[in-house]
Each structure stands twice: as C-alpha cells, then as structure tokens.
Amino acid sequence: MPPILQLDLQQILSQAISFALLVVVLRKFAWGPLLGILDQRRARIEADLRQAAESKEALGRLQHELSTRLAKIDEETRNKIQQALLEAKRVSLEMQEQARVQARAILAKSQETVEQELAQAKAMLRDQIAEMTVQAVERVLQQKLDQPSDDKLISGILDELERQAPRQAG
C-alpha cells in the first residue's frame, strides 16, 4: 500500500493534539500580543486623528471668533475715531467762537483805551494850547509889537504848536 494511504489512528490523534497545542501556544505568545498591539495602535491612531480633527475644528472656531472680534474692534475703533473727530470739530468751533469773542472784547477794550488816551491827549493839548496862548498873549503884551512882528510871532507860535502836537499824540 502506498505510504499516503497507510492510516494510523495514533498518528492522526498525535497530529490533532500537537496542532491544538500549537494553537494554544501561538494564541498566547503570538496572536494575542500582536493582535492586541495592532488594536492598540489602531485605537491610538483613531484617537489621534479624532483629536487632530477636533483641534482643527476648534482652530477654525477660534479663527472665526477672532475675525469676528477683529471686525467688531475695527467697527468700534472707526466709531470712536468718528466720535473723536466730531468732538474735535465741536471743540474747535467752540474755541474759535471763544477766540472770536475774546478778540472782539480785546478790540473793544483797545478802542476804548485809544479813545480814552485820545481824549486825554486832546485835553492835554487844549491845556497846553491855552497855556501857550496865555504865554503868547503875555509876551505880546510885554512887547510893543508891529504888524510884521505880530505875524511872525503868531506863525512862530503855530509852528511850535504843530511840532508839539505829534509829540503829545505819541
């Protein structure tokens, strides 16, 4: 009989038992640890990918929030600048008005002072003219004067008056 057809129950059972033992050994030392590590790695990769996706989503949310906040800040800044410009314009107008009022007051006061000084100068001039007239009359009365001498005297008095008038005004 060819060897392949020679059946032996003991050998059959031995082969079955040795295979069962091999399954037990490999399950303990190969399949268990390797499948376990593959599962762990798969779980870790999945967790990492999930975390990366969540981080990406969070980043997107933050970016959106940031851009919204920046837009809001821009708007607020623009409003504040606008308000500041309006305030500045208002203050400027107020200052202009105030300056105008003050200028008007100063002008009025200056005019009043000038008028007062002019009046004083006129009064002083009148007093001096009167005094000089008195002196001139006295001089005329003290000297015997002829007509040409009178004219000369009067014109001399008038010249002197003209010289003194600007000095009094200054």
Binding site: L5, S18, F19, V23, L34, I37
Partner: protein, 278 residues
C-alpha cells in the same frame, strides 16, 4: 533512490530520518523516528513556529522594529482574511485559522529544505488537522448555540406537535419512530460535518504528495543524467516556483474552507458567509 523501495516503488526524496533508518535500522530511536516520521516533521515545524513567536512576538512594542514588522503584516493580513469571511466576530477565530494556515504552509514549504519532508504529504497529518477543525467547529457551535440547540439542530430540528393530532394508541409508536429518525439524522449530520474537513484533508495530502513525488522524480532524473554526463542536472529547480505557489494555495484553500465552515456554524447574521450558504 534509497527510499523508493521502502515506499512501494513510489519515489521519494530522502530525508534525514530515512537516511538514519537506512544507516541504523536496528536502533530503537531510529525505528521510533521512522515510525513517527510525519509527526516528527510536523513537530519540527510547530517548534520552529513556537520559537519564532516566543522570540519575536511575545512582547511587541508600539513602534515595530525588525521581525515584528513582518509578523504584524502577516498577522494583520490573516486577520483581515478571516474577518472578510466570517465577519466582525471573526477576530475570535483568527488565532485558530491563522495557526492552521501558517502550520500547513510551512509544512508544505518544508519539502524545499534538504533533509526535510512535508508532513502534509501524509493523510495521517491532514486527517489529524481535519479532526482538529471538526472539533473546533463543533465546539464553536456548541458554545454559540448551547448544547440543547446544537443537538436539536443536528437531529433535524424536529417538532412533536403533530403527535397530538394522531390517535392516542399510535403516539408511542410514532414517538419511537421519530426518535429513531432523529438519532439517525444526528449521526448522518455529524458524519456530514466530519466529511467536510476530511475532503479538505484528502485534497491537501494528495496535492502535496504529488508535489513531493514530482520533485523526487525530477531529482532522480537529474541524478541519472548526471551519471551519464558526469555532472548532475538540477531539473527539480524548474518546479520550485510551482511548489511555492501550490504550497501557498493549498494552505490558503484549507484555511479558507475551514473559515467558511466556522461561518456556517455561527448563528444567522453573525457570520458574513452564513447567509450565502443557507
């Protein structure tokens, strides 16, 4: 060829046990090795597998290095293969199917190693594997269904309601007949379940045996030509690629059909292939 006479004229490549046997036939250890030749060669492969597992897979690390990479590729490939047949619950059966595949594959390939013999070229080995598959499948079925449902299913899922409609005096007779048929069906079903892996074992053993014989014939042819030419011709190398392919295919077929048997044993919806076969 020296081994030819001892095996009824069928050529066989001498292995280290046949060499020892031809050298020291009377030694009891040699006689023992010769008697248990296939078991010894299967044990060598099993020990080699166990050692590799012990050395490289016992404490795997998260970032694989060296041999762990190769083992992980192998383990993941087998796991995907098993789960593609059985379904998500197939993970529980990966160690059994994976070990079966690796064991058969390496035994088949051992024919290419000098001094070795493929243990799968013997029916004793393959029927032993078939017995292991049968026991595992039945164990899986009992564990999944429960012992009562298992026996009920094997006995043809009988119903006793029709006995009520029969006359009272006929009921014991009908019951006895029914029980007899149930017992008969149980035995037939069990034999049918056992025949499935047995058919696989026949296919595997005869294929590997034929490969072994082919290698031996070509080796003998090369040696004969060498005697004439004073230079041996390695004719057997031409069939080495075929041996590699057939060894892998045979291991794959055995594992695939064993997975299908397991899938058929699982309750409806649990195994992916279950629905297709009912």
């Amino acid at each position: 060829m020296s081994a030819e006479a001892a095996h009824g004229g069928i050529p066989e490549i001498p292995n280290f046990i046949t060499v020892l046997y031809n050298w020291q036939q009377e030694h009891p250890l040699v006689q023992f090795l010769h008697r248990w030749e296939n078991v010894v060669f299967a044990a060598i492969v099993a020990v080699a597998l166990a050692l590799v597992a012990w050395r490289y897979a016992r404490h795997p690390v998260m970032i694989p290095r060296g041999a762990q990479n190769l083992l992980e590729v192998l383990v993941e490939g087998i796991d995907n293969f098993v789960r593609s047949i059985i379904g998500p619950t197939g993970r529980a059966h990966t160690p059994f199917i994976g070990t079966l595949f690796l064991y058969i594959w390496l035994m088949n390939l051992s024919s290419l190693l000098p001094g070795m013999k493929p243990a799968t070229s013997s029916l004793n080995t393959t029927i032993g594997l078939a017995l292991a598959v049968f026991c595992y499948v039945q164990y899986t079925r009992v564990r999944t269904l429960g012992i009562g449902a298992y026996i009920h299913h094997l006995a043809g899922s009988p119903h006793f309601d029709d006995l009520k409609s029969a006359p009272v005096w006929m009921r014991p007779v009908l019951l006895v007949i029914k029980l007899f048929v149930m017992a008969l069906l149980f035995v037939l079903e069990l034999v049918g379940e056992f025949v499935k892996p047995i058919s696989l074992s026949l296919r595997l053993a005869f294929n590997i045996f034929a490969e072994d014989v082919l290698l031996a014939v070509l080796l003998g042819l090369g040696l004969s030509a060498g005697m004439l030419l004073h230079f041996p011709l390695p004719f057997q190398f031409f069939v080495v690629p075929l041996v590699l392919i057939f060894s892998t295919v045979q291991a794959l077929v055995f594992s695939l059909l064993s997975s299908v048997y397991i899938a058929l044993m699982l309750p409806h919806g649990e195994g992916a292939a279950h629905g297709e076969h009912h």
